[in-house]
Symmetry: C2
Subunit: 242 residues, 2 copies
């Protein structure tokens, strides 16, 4: 983890972003303990802006800071993963109800463009570059719900990515086999079919969640996942049988 932060001006946000990506991508491993001094040296900055960046990460739940103790990177747990995925589904379901009926033709065109980008990177097996249009696609669908909704959904997206990256690392392509589900979501949105969009979204996340949960807790049953789904998005299961 070597790098240099720029010398001019506002480093805090830059430091925050660098560390955040390192944690989300796993190069700062869950549970790892490190010192402010070491992080500061690696990034080529002083401890003052570093500490501010760490506070931001602490608030987000990506690092744990106990008084006078060193920094610990937040660990992964099945309970946390369940909460992340349930919150995502609950929030995005409501967001989709708000946004899909009011998406403009330009919005839909933008989503089509992002889908095309994903499709392209899929074909060229350039999975690394899919992250950007993938995130933009999911957030683009709910952007119109407002900045608060967007920020919270975006954060949950990133945290879910942390789990996904951690467990799909070995076979990166598997994490993106769900491209057909993106297509289905987009088709439903274009057709202004709100409930169908929600069902596709829930199914999309549930598929990934099941893999993540199974890795975290061998023997995790899809029965439990279905029960959870019925709670955070009632009626979705019934609509999925098509």
């Amino acid at each position: 983890m070597k790098g240099e932060a720029s010398r001019d001006g506002q480093n805090v946000l830059l430091i925050h972003d660098l560390l955040r990506h390192s944690i989300l991508r796993g190069s700062l491993a869950p549970g790892q303990v490190t010192s402010q001094l070491e992080l500061a040296r690696d990034l080529g900055v002083g401890r003052t802006p570093l500490r501010e960046a760490l506070r931001l990460l602490q608030r987000e739940g990506l690092v744990v800071q106990e008084p006078n103790r060193r920094v610990r990177i937040a660990e992964l747990s099945i309970s946390d993963a369940e909460q992340i995925y349930t919150m995502r589904i609950a929030l995005e379901a409501a967001a989709i109800r708000m946004t899909v009926p009011t998406l403009t033709p330009e919005d839909l065109a933008e989503l089509e463009g992002l889908y095309a980008q994903m499709e392209h990177y899929m074909r060229t097996q350039d999975f690394e570059r899919m992250d950007v249009p993938h995130r933009a696609f999911h957030l683009g669908l709910v952007r119109a719900a407002g900045p608060r909704w967007l920020e919270e959904i975006g954060q949950l997206f990133d945290h879910a990515e942390r789990y996904r990256v951690a467990f799909f690392r070995a076979r990166p392509e598997r994490g993106y086999l769900r491209q057909a589900e993106h297509r289905a979501m987009l088709d439903a949105a274009v057709g202004r079919d709100v409930e169908r969009t929600i069902a596709c979204m829930a199914q999309h996340y549930a598929h990934t969640a099941l893999v993540v949960f199974s890795q975290l807790q061998p023997g995790y049953t899809s029965t439990r996942l279905n029960a959870i789904l019925e709670v955070v998005a009632p009626g979705v299961l019934a609509k999925l049988s098509f």
Copy 2:
């Protein structure tokens, strides 16, 4: 805004709490601009821990910090208020679906106790002290959903309080006339009637929201609020006619 932070140890969290309460209660007014030096002097601390506390508040959206500019307390807006209340309802509806079926007798007893406390302070017109049991009551109902859910719902509760305090200040008692709705929520939870609990919750928040929205934007119609309700908690309106 004069005060002294303790001299020993970890001031950052203390500073954060002090400033947070000052903002939520309105003693640091929305839109107000101030300097780090002034805040530090008032609190009797240095700028280093203060800056860290400000970062936490920035992440929470209670202060706005642009590079090289002074601190600005986040302003109130109808768009923000709408997002807060819609997110609350969407999240708590899902949370209630998860928790109400599994509440233990002890949980319910605790909620009854908190209700009784509110009732007491209501009778003695001691509205200031109602805040603590009020918050505990609402969060107690959804605590079992997990720490992530609890933290997010708690934050939304606090931000909603900021709006409520700002607009009910003149007539503090009006903010708590909804005690009957707390009773109805609790009765529904005791009876394990999930959908009814959700309906009571949504109605409870919608009542407050309508007052807040009307103050922020004179002429705000309950028609718009009802439309929003139908989106974030479908079917709730139908259940409210009892």
